[in-house]
Amino acid sequence: MLSMSNERTNDEWLHDLNASGESQEVAIADLRDLLLRAALYFFSRNLGDFGGLNRDEILQRAEDCAQDALIALMDHLQDFRGDSKFTTWAYKFAINFALMSARHERWKGVSLDELPFSNEGTFSEWALQDKSDGIAPDRSALQNEVRETVQDVIEHDLTDKQRRVILMMVFNEVPMDEVVRHLGVNRNAIYKMLHDARRKLKSGLQARGFEVGETLALFSSQG
């Protein structure tokens, strides 16, 4: 069954949210329900992130996400261009907060300064331990060359910050928002570091003759 919130057109949403009095109050309450639905939807698919919380605590987290999303959305209401359904545009605010909340809950006890892959020796350990069995020797040798090239670029061409972010996010799979929290910068800054690092890795591989198709084929599922 469709809820009230789905029955408004985009213009009606904007009109009611920008109105005053009761119609604004009703619209905000409907919007809050819509955001709560998105947060609960995300949480219900990611319950594994909340191992340490009981049901009431998880439901409260969802309420908190809906409230934070409501504030963020109202701050950005003038940015809505009408190029999607209003509800789709609104959902993304709640999903954004729900994702941050879930990932933070999963990682909250982990010290990002004491991760398994976190120091200078990481890359040579990684190159050594990642030997695959049952692969033709020539293919295995080429795979090692690719790994050594990647290792070489990471160790010599990346900046300290780029190397640190690669270690956290690629080697230790730390979620972006936890790295954001840890380093005190925003997502865009982290994305830029990753992007710059990828550019250096790509040109490093190409400079050593590893072109895209044949290199990817080396690591794709083995026949």
């Binding site: 809820s3 789709t88 830029k192 990828r198 890795l201 895209v212």
Partner: protein, 90 residues
């Protein structure tokens, strides 16, 4: 890092473009991208930079996938109710 993950990372490395949009730009455009997709239009052709970003960025990809699924549910009239969602949390 096992071979599967290294393979995925290599694909990201080779998929790198000189110009890529930021996470903020992706957040701004992702609802349009989903709208195009759910209305049967070619979102990738119209917004290739969004597609490229969500392939590279796990955080934005997770957000996109959940947004897409919610929008699909809603379009099909099957968006889960608050009560149903609450009881799915155990």
């Amino acid at each position: 890092m096992n071979r599967e993950r290294f393979d995925a990372w290599l694909r990201n490395i080779y998929g790198t473009q000189d110009e890529e949009i930021s996470c903020t730009e992706c957040f701004d455009l992702v609802s349009r991208f989903v709208e195009l997709e759910t209305s049967g239009r070619d979102a990738v052709a119209e917004l290739p930079k969004v597609k490229q970003h969500i392939e590279q960025c796990r955080a934005c990809r997770d957000e996109y996938e959940n947004l897409r699924d919610l929008a699909r549910f809603e379009n099909e009239g099957g968006a889960p109710s608050l009560d149903n969602l609450r009881s799915s949390i155990r």
